[in-house]
């Protein structure tokens, strides 16, 4: 049944997860074929079961998970019935794994080289010296700086992008037949991601190994994989050659993965000159203890418009939100609302001032008190700010829920645990709207959501802005989101503003070099994008 050049086959695989709340089906009826030397992309949103499937290829299930049906055959060995010992022998030596966060997956108490040689030495493939030589050769291939010495460092002494490359090298030392890459660049910034992506692809090609490449980002997978499987809720949605899928996706779900990239918010009329800005931030400087995180940041927000602050991690964009709300008092500079300077700390602001500026944060899971019903979460600001009680409060609460497109009858008495991520984020928006604010600060509010849900959220915010004349300060690392909704764009790096201006001007050349780097690093829905970009950068690089 299996053709000779097939390395891995799965037939009707089903995996079940058990928890206090009962059992859930994580993977259902998956068939998978992987040829020698082939790179297979697994794509899906959170909860699609792609990581579980990747680990199953190693005959491994996480605690609480169980294979309930189907078979996994690796090079003629049936993994579901092979013993623990037989599976252990395969892991590392013949099937290797590259984890999402190398910073967490490297043992903090061991040098990189000791961890790199471990697989080969413990499986008896090589002796220490051979393995060390192989590891150093791979460090070099992965373009790590000073490959001879870097192995003698501890993980905390090496940057995230370098660690991810070192982890790929570690996986390759024993020359495995198959490598499972589990979202290897997700934890990295967009500009770092490119280099790691290129290095991984180069190394996989050079040693001719098979690979399973797992990601939530279709554009990324398209650069790496020969063939792509789209998963949703543990089931296969669509499977095709990369080029075929990118050119003509068949299923509606696959097409929806383009959603946020194609959405465009409503156009607003040009700003009238000379009006007082709703919010004026002047020369802000802030620090956590001794570490400066914001330096000399100034910006204006005008009524009814959306300003997007974009930057990578560590750029200070979230700190800016914390300073504006007063959670982190600034060292220098001021925040003025409607021409009136606000106190540095939220403790010094009046309830009225607090009411007018509301914030929505990234993680809807921690934004709602798990012990309060939707009713309590939305009802409290109504009572606290507007003094609404009884019938009036009940009516307003229902209006708000209707406005954020949740059925009041169904949702008003639910606890956060009984809501999905997108629904929780909607409740957070309703809680903010309950205060009847003028300014909404949205801190990465779509980052933890899946593409479709994120697009709905952006549409909702766009409609609310039109209806209520709200002003948004939109903080994000995602340029697609910026393109979709921003009127003005502010680019930040290392706590400073690099460039600022209207959206159309920012997305058209010429750019500031950093803006250019940022823009060009965003993966595009084109299998040749990475090649083109690398060629382009090589051409531009001063020789």
């Amino acid at each position: 049944m299996t053709v000779p050049d097939t390395l891995l086959t799965m037939r009707g695989l089903a995996i079940e997860g058990r928890s206090e709340r009962g059992t859930t089906q994580i993977v259902t009826g998956i068939d998978l074929n992987l040829k020698r030397g082939e790179v297979l992309g697994l794509i899906g949103e959170s909860g699609a079961g792609k990581s579980t499937l990747g680990l199953a290829a190693m005959g491994y299930t996480r605690d609480g998970c169980r294979i309930t049906a189907g078979s996994i055959v690796f090079d003629g060995i049936e993994l579901t019935t092979a013993g623990d010992e037989a599976r252990r022998r395969l892991r590392g030596s013949r099937i290797a794994y590259v984890a999402q966060s190398a910073a967490a997956a490297f043992n903090p108490a061991m040098r990189l080289i000791d961890q790199s040689v471990e697989i080969a030495v413990q499986h008896g493939v090589m002796n220490n010296a051979e393995a060390a030589a192989a590891a150093i050769a791979l460090y070099r291939r992965m373009q790590l700086p000073s490959p001879e010495e870097i192995g003698f460092r501890y993980p905390h002494q090496v940057s995230g992008g370098q660690l991810q490359r070192a982890m790929t090298a570690m996986a390759m030392v024993a020359r495995p037949d198959l490598i499972v890459f589990d979202e290897p660049t997700t934890a990295l910034d967009v500009t770092t991601q490119i280099e790691v992506l290129a290095a991984i692809r180069d190394a996989v090609e050079a040693i001719g190994t098979s690979a399973i490449y797992i990601s939530h980002d279709l554009a990324l997978v398209a650069q790496m994989a020969d063939r792509i499987m789209v998963l949703r809720h543990g089931r296969l949605v669509e499977e095709a050659d990369t080029r075929t899928m990118m050119a003509s996706p068949r299923q509606a779900y696959t097409k929806s993965l383009w959603a946020v990239r194609t959405f465009r918010g409503s156009r607003k009329p040009e700003m009238a000159a000379g009006t007082t800005p709703l919010l004026r931030v002047e020369r802000l400087t802030a620090a956590y203890d001794e570490t400066p995180v914001l330096q000399d940041v100034s910006l204006d927000l005008h009524r009814g418009r959306t300003v997007a602050v974009v930057g990578e991690s560590g750029s200070g964009k979230s700190t800016l939100a914390r300073v504006i709300t007063g959670l982190l008092p600034p060292r220098q500079g001021s925040v003025a609302f409607e021409g009136k300077t606000l106190a540095g700390s939220y403790r010094g602001r009046s309830p009225e001032e607090l009411r007018r500026v509301q914030m929505i944060v990234q993680m809807p899971d921690t934004a709602l008190n798990p012990r309060q019903r939707v009713r309590d979460a939305i009802g409290r600001p109504l009572k606290f700010y507007l003094g609404l009680t009884g019938e009036a409060r009940e009516r307003r609460m229902r209006e708000l829920l209707t406005e954020i497109e949740l059925d009041p009858d169904q949702y008003v008495d639910r606890y956060p645990a009984e809501l999905s991520g997108g629904q929780k984020q909607r409740v957070c928006i309703a809680r903010a709207l309950a205060a009847e604010p003028a300014l909404l600060i949205c801190d990465e509010i779509t980052s933890a959501l899946d593409q479709l849900v994120a697009e709905e959220m952006l549409k909702l915010l766009d409609r609310l802005q039109r209806e209520r004349g709200l002003t948004y300060l939109f903080i994000t690392h995602d340029l697609a989101t910026v393109r979709a909704i921003a009127d003005e764009v502010v680019v930040m790096k290392d706590g400073r503003i690099v460039e600022a201006g209207p959206r159309d001007r920012m997305f058209a050349p010429p750019h500031h070099p950093y803006t250019d780097l940022l823009l060009s690093s965003v993966p595009e829905m084109d299998p040749d994008w990475l090649d083109r970009l690398l060629d382009q950068r090589k051409a531009q690089a001063p020789s």
Partner: protein
């Protein structure tokens, strides 16, 4: 309520054992005057009478009925331990939650005081204070409650610190809510599971602590029936191969085992399926 029922149904045998035994102790403690055959301090026969007859477990060193003293011991020893633990929780838990929520210099000062108090092993510290204040039940309860409160302070403060930085508490702060709202509505409801487990754990410590002091003759004083001092008063019987003095000691051990089993189950549940 439905949650509780499901939780109980899935509880392991050890937890069931713990719950049943604890319930039995509470029942005996509450019903002591009805259940016990004699009065707490009533002399019913010669000293060290053997088992059988009117006194099924014999008599103690003063001729009081052993079974009766054991039953009243449940009321006294367990009762005093519960009072002490509750007191320690009110002091340590309350101050700890406030300290972890407001931070700043209040937290710094309280933290330093607790550090110093915790640098002295608790039994040793309590012996020093008992020497100064004299051995009485009131001073013992106060001293142990204060010492244990430092441990609870640590936990409550850590819990509050952890919860106070979560987004929903920050949202409440930004709304302008006061300290009382923050603690009672936002933080405390989300800290109950670990605090309940800690209560069980602390009760065991306090209970063993009081028993040890009473055994040393420095805790609950005669003629109150108390398990620790009953062991001490009748210990001589051991050398004659009589296990009677082991009974009150066993009563202490059984309850502690029972509570520990329940706590272990609660902790295991709240930690999810980590292992």
């Amino acid at each position: 309520m439905a949650d509780l029922a499901t939780a109980l149904r899935s509880a392991p045998p050890s937890a069931w054992f713990g719950i049943s035994v604890s319930a039995l102790y509470v029942f005996v403690a509450l019903g002591a005057p009805v259940v016990a055959p004699f009065g707490e301090t009533q002399v019913v026969g010669p000293a060290f009478a053997p088992w059988g007859g009117a006194s099924p477990l014999g008599t103690d060193n003063l001729g009081r009925d052993m079974a009766t003293r054991l039953i009243y011991g449940a009321r006294n020893t367990v009762g005093i331990a519960v009072v002490t633990t509750v007191l320690a929780f009110l002091i340590g838990g309350g101050i700890g939650l406030i300290s972890g929520t407001v931070r700043g210099w209040v937290d710094q000062v309280l933290g330093r005081i607790v550090d110093v108090m915790m640098a002295i092993p608790s039994l040793i510290f309590s012996l020093l204070l008992l020497a100064i204040f004299g051995t009485s039940v009131v001073s013992m309860i106060t001293i142990i409650a204060l010492i244990e409160a430092t441990r609870i302070f640590r936990l409550a403060r850590a819990l509050a610190l952890g919860i106070a930085v979560l987004d929903y508490v920050e949202a409440a702060k930004l709304r302008g809510e006061g300290l009382i709202w923050l603690i009672t509505r936002e933080i405390l409801p989300n800290a109950t599971a670990p605090l309940i487990a800690e209560f069980g754990l602390r009760f065991c410590f306090v209970f063993l602590f009081i028993s040890a002091l009473s055994f040393l003759g420095l805790g609950i004083q005669p003629p109150t029936a108390d398990w620790g001092s009953m062991v001490r008063d009748n210990a001589a019987l051991i050398s004659y191969g009589d296990i009677t003095p082991l009974l009150p000691a066993g009563a202490i051990a059984l309850l502690t085992v029972a509570v520990n089993f329940v706590v272990d189950w609660l902790l295991h549940r709240s930690s999810g399926l980590k292992d």
